[in-house]
């Protein structure tokens, strides 16, 4: 935001000039007065552009010196410092009273100072923090986990089955031998399943941990602040 470097004295002076113009117009011409009155009202409302138009219209009807000072003030408010300086100088050229000339000089100095200022480049907005890359659980991971779990279950079942078969001493020795052979096969197969299941499950987990993707970014509205936030989703 641009700060008002003229301060309160200039606003008071402007108000007096416009008030004076208003009084003059009342005395000379209704049309000029109307323009000046509207210009004043618009100035008070901060609508400096239209206030300038009204003042120019009034000056064209009747080129009063005071209107030059008022125009300088309006141009100053509009940031048209070179035009403001021109208006003030034209006002000074009309030979105003010393106090008004001093005000005009002060206004010129202020306008020149503002004119000399280089426009300050606004720092580029800080880039929103890049969210950390997050592991992504996808269908392959789900498949691996499901396969691993199934193998683990099957392996555990075979192990339990083999365990019980191997400890079933009923029947004859030959029957036990057969049962034992089956139990050994079941247990080794079960062990294989368990290893494969653990590998599949571990692979799925490892794949999930190593499969990093950018976090999904969603704009969100905040009641007091505007900006962006990133949200992470599985």
């Amino acid at each position: 935001m641009t700060r008002d470097r003229g301060g309160a004295p200039r606003r008071i002076a402007t108000a007096l000039v416009i008030a004076g113009l208003a009084a003059a117009t009342a005395a000379h011409a209704d049309a000029v007065d109307d323009h000046v009155a509207r210009g004043r009202r618009l100035y008070d409302q901060g609508d400096f552009g239209h206030a300038r138009d009204e003042l120019l219209a009034a000056y064209q009807l009747e080129p009063r010196p005071e209107l030059l000072f008022a125009l300088g003030q309006v141009e100053l408010q509009l940031g048209r410092f070179a035009q403001a300086i021109d208006d003030y100088q034209r006002f000074l050229a009309t030979g105003p009273a010393p106090d008004q000339a001093a005000l005009a000089q002060q206004a010129i100095g202020a306008a020149r100072a503002r004119l000399a200022e280089k426009p300050v480049a606004a720092p580029p907005p800080a880039a929103p923090p890049r969210p950390p890359r997050q592991p992504r659980w996808d269908d392959v991971d789900t498949g691996l986990a499901a396969l691993g779990g199934a193998l683990l279950l099957a392996g555990a079942g075979l192990e339990v089955s083999g365990y019980h078969h191997g400890r079933d001493h009923s029947g004859t020795l030959s029957q036990y031998n057969h049962r034992l052979s089956d139990a050994v096969v079941a247990e080794w197969t079960g062990a294989g399943f368990l290893v494969a299941g653990a590998a599949a499950l571990g692979g799925g987990l490892l794949r999930w941990r190593l499969h990093l993707v950018d976090a999904e970014v969603q704009p969100i509205a905040a009641p007091r602040t505007a900006g962006v936030a990133w949200v992470q989703r599985w």
Binding site: T172, L173, E187, G192, L194, V195, G202
Partner: protein, 504 residues
């Protein structure tokens, strides 16, 4: 985060589950073991099959836990080393000492000779002495007595059973030997039940002559071998398993049954006499393998007492086992109308005794009996006796049964055994206590046991009036110990003893 090492360890553990099957099959009945030749359910409830490579000819199946595929061995550490008829002993402590002198005690079975040697050489072994007596006068039914020496006193007890009274080995793991006898239905002369401490087993109705414990099958099961004559008068042996009552019969000589190992094949062999009291024939019953790989009595070697049977005395009184020639192998002695020494050989029992002893005082038969060169010729003697292992050497205690007991005094001799050549060496005579004007009754049975715990074998002698004498150590003075109040018509002609004991 699961590290790779942890994952590998987990995988290894899982893979290890494949070896979690516990291959330890336990059988409950014989039919459970149906793998391998002549498979058998052993006393430890594991299956074995025939394998001639193993000393026991049995090898565990390959699913027998920690003993899988190892040779079956029924050796045990006997809870009671005072009782014969048990499986071979483990070579530890007293067992090692005994088996160093007599390996068959750890290779074949804990026999009578092992008990005597243990009493002699094991400083920590002191036994009571229990003698089962079957006394017969040749007319009435035999009288059965149980005689016990507890270290201080003799005790006797009459037994109401019939047939024969004998001490059987303790049940496996037990200490107390079991006194066994037979019973018969009322008004029957045949016996049909073997009754022993802890059980009764129906047996083939027959006339039973012997009851003995021996690990005949080398299976470690409590086994009794009974000698009997069947209804047709044929001698038979019944091998009875005392754990389940099963039995099988074998045709063989059945009288005076005694067990040792004469051919050193790790299976106990028997010595038995003809069931005919007048026959001097006796046989080595060689424990052999049947076609079905079970144990049976195989080829027999028959020999006999010399001529000159003594009237009123059986031609064969019994057998004894001892290492006569100090070759660490069992030899056998046959007592009867003469005393025959058979030195064991790995080929079995020679059909001709190495030494025949006859006469009174005893001498090599070749030098007496009228045809010899000595002056102690006396025909028609009959002998009872016992071998007495000593710290150095072996002695034979020989009792003579005179041809005319009423007029001729009996004698009891102690003869040291010369090992090379085998024969009698120094001969001594025991002194009987006074028997009054009449000659002392002849000695019918001799037993060698350590009565006083001094680790010397003492002599127990029983005469024809069932008077019990003792002589401690090498002392030659007989002392009356106890007299059994028999109701038999005296004199008794035959006293059958079965000896056992328990640590005291």
């Amino acid at each position: 985060m699961v590290t790779a090492a942890r994952a590998l360890a987990a995988c290894a553990a899982l893979a290890g589950l494949g070896a979690c099957v516990d291959p330890d099959y336990h059988c409950t009945i014989q039919d459970d073991c149906d793998v391998g030749e002549a498979a058998r359910c052993e006393v430890d409830r594991r299956c074995t099959a025939y394998d001639p490579v193993c000393p026991s000819h049995r090898r565990y199946s390959d699913h027998s836990g920690p003993v899988s595929n190892s040779c079956f061995d029924d050796a045990v550490t006997p809870a009671n080393r005072c009782a014969p008829g048990q499986p071979p002993a483990v070579r530890d402590g007293c067992g090692a000492t005994v088996c160093k002198a007599l390996p068959s005690c750890c290779d074949t079975g804990w026999s009578e000779a092992c008990v005597e040697l243990a009493q002699l050489s094991c400083s920590d072994l002191v036994c009571d002495t229990r003698i089962a007596i079957t006394a017969s006068d040749g007319k009435a039914a035999p009288e059965l007595w149980s005689l016990t020496w507890d270290g201080k006193h003799w005790a006797m007890a009459s037994d109401a059973r019939k047939g024969v009274l004998a001490w059987l080995a303790p049940a496996p793991g037990e200490v107390e030997p079991r006194l066994a006898g037979f019973t018969s239905p009322a008004a029957s002369t045949t016996m049909d039940e073997l009754v022993l401490d802890g059980g009764a087993f129906p047996v083939t109705a027959a006339s039973y002559l012997e009851a003995s414990s021996v690990d005949f099958d080398r299976d470690g099961r409590p086994t009794a071998v009974l000698g009997y004559t069947d209804a047709g008068g044929n001698p038979r042996l019944a091998v009875v398993k005392l754990d389940d009552g099963s039995s099988r019969a074998i045709s063989a000589f059945a009288a005076r049954l005694s067990w040792g190992d004469l051919d050193y094949d790790a299976f106990p062999d028997g010595m038995a006499a003809s069931t005919s009291a007048s026959s001097g024939n006796y046989r080595l019953l060689s424990n052999a393998e049947a076609a079905d790989r079970s144990r049976t009595i195989g080829a027999v070697v028959e020999t006999s007492m010399g001529s000159g049977l003594t009237t009123g005395a059986p031609a064969v009184r019994g057998f004894g086992w001892v290492d006569l020639n100090r070759d660490h192998l069992l030899d056998v002695i046959a007592y009867g109308s003469e005393v025959n020494l058979h030195a064991g050989a790995r080929v079995g029992l020679p059909d001709t005794p190495q030494v025949r002893i006859d006469c009174d005082p005893p001498a090599a038969a070749a030098t007496c009996n009228g045809g010899g060169t000595t002056t102690n010729t006396q025909t028609a003697q009959s002998f009872a006796g016992a071998a007495v292992p000593e710290a150095v050497g072996t002695a034979l205690v020989l009792a003579t049964f005179p041809a005319s007991p009423a007029t001729e005094p009996p004698s009891l001799h102690r003869a040291e055994i010369a090992t090379s050549p085998l024969g009698l060496a120094r001969l001594s005579s025991y002194v009987f206590p006074s028997c009054g004007a009449a000659p002392c009754p002849p000695i019918l049975a001799v037993v060698a046991r350590d009565l006083d715990g001094d680790h010397q074998l003492d002599v127990i002698a029983i005469d024809s009036e069932l008077q019990v004498y003792t002589a401690l150590g090498s002392q030659l003075q007989l002392t009356r110990a106890i007299k059994l109040p028999t109701t038999l018509t005296l004199p008794v002609t035959e006293v059958h003893t079965s000896v056992s004991g328990a640590p005291r």
